[in-house]
Symmetry: C2
Subunit: 186 residues, 2 copies
């Protein structure tokens, strides 16, 4: 980089991430993370979920604070709408993953971001979850994410940021590919 080239500052410590990539390649067991949450049923479709700790780099870590989320169903389902539906939490996960990833990729490419907004929509036919039509799936039929990005870069460079963010996104992978889920009781 020449002395006159501007240095982007998106607030992402890319040097640390590149260092971690090297270190974890040499100690792959430290790269095994486990993320956790606990959900308590309140009443009706209302739930309270807390996130406190996770494991990685060979040990358990506490988040800086406990994060707590109310979930519910809306009034059109005869519920109280005390919080978003479960599927809306998945949309939060997907759009935050693509947006945070985009900031990391931009930093790595020395592209200054000025503003990023992601609008996400997921279509779902509720005949699936109601058990009314066995041909209709329970989950999303289609999800659309639209980015509005202001960055010191060409349109082609901005498109490439979005593409690379998808390529490295954990939640994009979870939503577009199958994952194994095992459920046990008592």
């Amino acid at each position: 980089m020449s002395a006159t080239e501007p240095v982007a500052d998106n607030g992402v410590n890319v040097e640390h991430l590149l260092g971690a990539r090297t270190a974890l390649t040499d100690a792959p067991e430290a790269a095994e993370f486990t993320w956790r949450a606990t959900t308590e049923w309140v009443r009706g479709t209302r739930t309270q979920t807390t996130i406190e700790d996770y494991s990685g780099l060979g040990e358990k870590h506490s988040h800086k604070a406990e994060f707590s989320y109310t979930g519910d169903h809306p009034e059109v389902f005869a519920s109280e709408d005390n919080g978003p539906t479960p599927v809306e939490f998945v949309l939060v996960g997907l759009s935050t993953c693509l947006t945070a990833g985009l900031a990391a990729v931009a930093q790595n490419r020395n592209i200054q971001l000025n503003s990023v907004k992601a609008s996400i929509e997921g279509d779902m036919n509720i005949l699936g979850i109601l058990g009314a039509d066995p041909e209709v799936r329970n989950g999303f039929n289609d999800i659309r994410v639209h980015f509005d990005i202001d960055a010191d870069a060409s349109p082609a460079e901005i498109e490439a940021l979005v593409a690379q963010s998808q390529k490295r996104s954990a939640v994009f992978d979870v939503v577009t590919n199958p994952s194994n889920v095992s459920v046990s009781v008592n």
Copy 2:
């Protein structure tokens, strides 16, 4: 039901849901829902996501309140840990979906729930998202949900509640099966 049989009250309006199933089977276009969220990049890996409205039953509905969520990456990734990671929001969605669904199924089967707790864990090897090993996926390798349930029912009936909740869960479907996601920019 005989006059002496106890009537479960889990706070779920099952009559409404069964009525909706009949009504929507006769007017299937009303069953098409769209859920939405908007994510703004703050700085670094920190994002702020708001959920305000959704469409269904042929019109747009506002949630009772605007719901707003901070997402971030943890300090071990050289971030500030102002909120959970995107993948933890997915865990919130999955465990709230299975738990709320369980309450609805229990109500429909006239089973009184006393308490329900779901503990969820997702394993992820971060060599995937770091781009360090092309053989490692970005998302979860394995997700485990464990329910502790106190209900006025036999162990077999409780196991059947958990199984039926999975069968009708929108987020269980999203996580265990692929969904189409399209991403556009500007």
